[in-house]
């Protein structure tokens, strides 16, 4: 008798078999009843997990300097390690976001006191203009204050 297929997540006997075809590439995932019920069958990250399992010895290519989370960890868990991971894994996340989200850009609420970058950029341009005017008028006190503000804004926008 042939060996039963095992669950990709917990190695129990698999009873749910999923296939995903992207650009002609077929990925198969096998789940036991319990893992399928836990939401695995509807979780898009399950296919990323399958890819990770297919290459268990591959070295992580990207590591978050802040929390040590790797691209391999992401493929296994389908979750990120910290807020900085969003910058570190940006490119691969963009592809995923394009699949699961409406648009890749946030258009909703912001935390209290948050000023959008565009507003900072506008202020930086205005401050540069004001500073050149102050220098032309030889108003060095104002120019020095504006120079400090410009330095701060440039650092913020970096």
């Amino acid at each position: 008798m042939s060996q039963p297929t095992l669950c990709s997540l917990c190695k129990e006997v698999a009873t749910v078999h999923l296939s995903q075809v992207i650009h002609g590439k077929v990925t198969k995932v096998h789940l036991c009843e319990s893992c399928a019920q836990k939401g695995g069958a509807s979780d898009p990250s399950i296919f990323q997990l399958a890819e990770a399992l297919a290459a268990p010895h591959s070295e992580p290519k990207v590591v978050c300097p802040k929390c040590g989370f790797t691209d391999q960890d992401f493929r296994k868990k389908g979750r990120l390690g910290c807020a900085s991971c969003w910058e570190v894994f940006g490119d691969s996340l963009q592809l995923l976001l394009a699949k699961v989200q409406f648009q890749p850009v946030h258009v909703g609420r912001t935390p209290p006191g948050f000023l959008p970058l565009e507003r900072w950029r506008q202020r930086l341009e205005a401050a540069r203009l004001e500073m050149s005017k102050a220098v032309a008028k030889e108003d060095y006190e104002v120019a020095a204050r504006l120079r400090d503000e410009i330095t701060e804004l440039e650092a913020r926008l970096k």
């Binding site: 910290c82 807020a83 989200q101 850009v105 909703g108 609420r109 935390p111 959008p116 970058l117």
Partner: protein, 373 residues
């Protein structure tokens, strides 16, 4: 003796969050809800938020999770709405009490399964903030009936108040940063719990589910992801959180719920009209089984009670009894049955207790009559 559900906060610089510990009895005896609408059972808003500079709970080490829990509990305790709230640390609660909280939709199965999670719950149980679930904070506002605007307004106020006390992880282009890419952006999951026996009996549910999912809405069972739709009750929520404003998400859900409510009423009227006596017989038989069964599984009880709820909506039973049916649905859940019994029971023991409780509760129920709606 049952253990208290609440423990004081662990942080050094804070006072205990609640002077009146919440006991399992308080949850069991609290009214399920003050409002019982025909189709929409409840409206829920959930916001996923994380603290800036801290690893997400699934990647954090135990001391980091504890630090986050203490920070969050301290901050939440300063909010007017939660000042007198209950602080529940999952690691301190027995399995059964955590299961009761899940059945009351006050915490998720995922939070209850871990030891390092906590929840701060308002005394009226409308607001529940989960700490160290998949994200540092999951702010939930749950109200009976269909009140999307009011529920959202309260969630928005809480979100602003939390943002004034804690630095929240936010990115200009990606919005609120979350552990899972399916929550990033607004971090908003808006949902309605709906009772759709008409659409189920008419065999339309598969079609409805397909239409909803093609239009960006998820359909789940009674206890959320991966659970069965016992009792013809479904949770409908938005799938996408990024690229849509909160207003757009709420408007989309609202449009669909209004549409579903209308379709459900149409299906009910058509069933009552087309099937006539056969339809009433179906409801009457459900009451009969509930009144005399000696063993009832949770799913069977939910399905039979769903018929009684439908009977109340259609005037086949007095409308005032809907509240009692809702209470029986909650109290028939496995953890509630065992908490009431004061001991852990095997499935046979639970089925016998459930059947007995239902026989007694429905002994004096009036007979099913012709629909009036």
């Amino acid at each position: 003796m049952r253990s208290p559900l609440v423990c004081g906060m662990k942080s050094q610089n804070s006072k205990p969050a609640s002077n009146n510990p919440m006991s399992i009895d308080e949850i069991l005896t609290s009214e399920v809800s003050e409002e019982h609408q025909p189709i929409v059972l409840s409206t829920r808003i959930r916001l996923a938020r994380n603290l800036d500079g801290q690893p997400f709970p699934g990647w954090a080490k135990a001391p980091q999770r504890k630090e986050v829990a203490d920070l969050c509990v301290d901050a939440l305790h300063q909010l007017q709405r939660l000042r007198k709230g209950h602080v529940l640390r999952m690691g301190d609660l027995p399995d059964l009490e955590r299961a009761v909280l899940v059945e009351r939709h006050l915490v998720s199965k995922e939070l209850a399964a871990g030891k390092s999670g906590a929840a701060v719950i308002s005394r009226d149980q409308t607001v529940s903030v989960m700490i160290n679930e998949e994200d540092h904070l999951r702010v939930q506002v749950l109200r009976p009936g269909w009140h999307l605007r009011g529920t959202w307004n309260l969630a928005e106020q809480l979100d602003d108040a939390i943002g004034a006390h804690l630095k929240i992880a936010f990115h200009e282009r990606l919005g609120y940063l979350t552990a899972c890419p399916t929550n990033v952006g607004t971090g908003l999951r808006a949902s309605a719990m709906v009772h759709l026996p008409g659409l189920c009996m008419a065999g339309h549910m598969e079609k409805v589910t397909r239409a909803l999912s093609q239009d960006g809405l998820a359909v789940r069972g009674w206890l959320g992801e991966g659970t069965e739709a016992a009792g013809n009750i479904f949770q409908i929520s938005n799938q996408q959180t990024l690229g849509l404003s909160e207003e757009a998400i709420l408007h989309h859900l609202s449009t669909w719920i209004k549409n579903l409510v209308e379709q459900e009423w149409n299906a009910r009227r058509k069933l009552a009209l087309d099937e006539g006596e056969k339809f009433i017989d179906r409801l009457a038989r459900s009451l009969g089984v509930l009144r005399s069964a000696r063993l009832l599984t949770s799913a069977e009880a939910m399905n039979l009670l769903s018929h009684l709820r439908l009977a109340c909506d259609l005037g086949c039973l007095p409308e005032v009894l809907r509240a009692q049916v809702d209470r029986l649905m909650i109290e028939g859940q496995p953890a509630h049955i065992q908490a009431k019994a004061g001991e852990a029971l095997d499935s046979n023991g639970r089925d016998a207790r459930r059947a007995k409780a239902l026989r007694e509760a429905l002994r004096d129920f009036p007979e099913i009559t012709e629909p009036t709606v």
